[in-house]
């Protein structure tokens, strides 16, 4: 097992954040399709999820390449046409699997972090 280094927690949390971010994006598309700026703005507003809003666009592009989201162009009254992102079937499945795994992990970790260390027997 790797040595745990003091102060490393923030680095670990940053890595976890990066890992779950794609699924958070998928979750945001669960109920309705959204265009790039909406998504980026909403994610940027959620505490600590994203340090650089611009990096969401490559993430969205990657999700599209992987077939998890689909894009359509829609006319906008106020400017150029907008690229809307929509959850694809594969994306729905991936989101479902992740949600289940995440909830189990989250609950387990919460329990252990809160444990009082009582003797089990």
């Amino acid at each position: 097992m790797r040595r745990i280094v003091a102060g490393e927690a923030s680095n670990l949390v940053a890595q976890m954040r990066r890992g779950v971010l794609p699924y958070c994006v998928l979750a945001m598309l669960r109920n309705r399709e959204q265009y790039g700026f909406e998504l980026v703005h909403a994610l940027g507003g959620t505490d600590g999820m994203v340090t650089s809003e611009g990096t969401i666009y490559p993430l969205l592009a990657r999700l599209r390449r992987q077939g998890l989201v689909e894009t359509t162009w829609q006319e906008s009254a106020t400017g150029p046409p907008r690229k809307y992102y929509r959850l694809a079937e594969a994306g729905k499945e991936a989101l479902g699997e992740f949600t289940e795994s995440w909830q189990r992990l989250r609950d387990s970790v919460d329990d252990l972090l809160a444990s009082s260390g009582q003797e089990p027997f």
Binding site: G36, F37, V40, G44, T51, S52, E53, G54, T55, Y57, P58, L59, A61, R62, T78, G79, P80, R82, K83
Partner: protein, 203 residues
């Protein structure tokens, strides 16, 4: 909004997009184009939207760009899992050495050892670097490369000197031009993107 701050903002945006375009030179062309467009559109939208209900003005351009983040960070994110694409865009070093050797063989292989040119042709057709049309040209137009030049004195003794000289010059220039063309394609790096003259403007 005063026109002076608009112009200053436009300059900031143009600078930012130019930096982004430069950083993104290493990306595959389609990915680079998409990214540049998406960021441009984002900036245009962000400059016009009101971030808070009742806000008197939208965010300053500087804030929008700061929230977007550094171009190098954005491009680094876009470059993930691009390794295979990048390899296709620019030949790895070993391939470039092989391709250079191929061109040398095509050019002078006939002069040194007759079979050298034939080996060069085999390597030419085996290489993934060149298009079929280029390969055909290199093979058929100047068979034997510079060795064809040796044929002129042998078969051209009956020709008037000016004609013989012209044929000699063409015989030398032709293979060299073809070789240079093949080499440039073998060594070509990923294309550099255009510079942004001005940012998108929302209607």
């Amino acid at each position: 909004m005063s026109s002076a701050s608009d112009t200053a903002g436009d300059r900031l945006v143009a600078d930012y997009l130019n930096r982004l375009a430069a950083e993104a030179a290493s990306l595959p062309a389609d990915r680079r184009a998409d990214l540049l467009e998406e960021i441009s559109v984002h900036i245009a939208e962000a400059r016009t939207v009101r971030y808070a209900a009742g806000a008197a003005r939208s965010l300053s351009v500087a804030s929008v760009l700061e929230r977007l983040g550094r171009p190098e960070d954005i491009v680094r994110e876009a470059a993930e899992d691009t390794e295979s694409d990048a390899a296709a865009a620019q030949s790895p070093p070993r391939r470039r050495v092989l391709d250079t050797g191929t061109v040398i063989l095509l050019l002078i292989g006939g002069l040194l050892i007759g079979l050298g040119w034939i080996a060069g042709v085999a390597m030419l057709w085996a290489s993934p670097r060149w298009r079929t049309s280029d390969k055909l040209l290199a093979t058929l137009v100047w068979p034997g490369g510079l060795a064809a030049v040796l044929a002129v004195p042998r078969f051209g003794t009956g020709l008037p000197p000016p004609l013989a000289l012209s044929l000699l010059l063409i015989g030398v220039a032709g293979p060299i031009v073809a070789a240079v063309r093949l080499l440039r394609q073998a060594w070509r790096p990923a294309a550099v993107p255009p510079v942004f003259p001005h940012p998108h403007k929302a209607a």
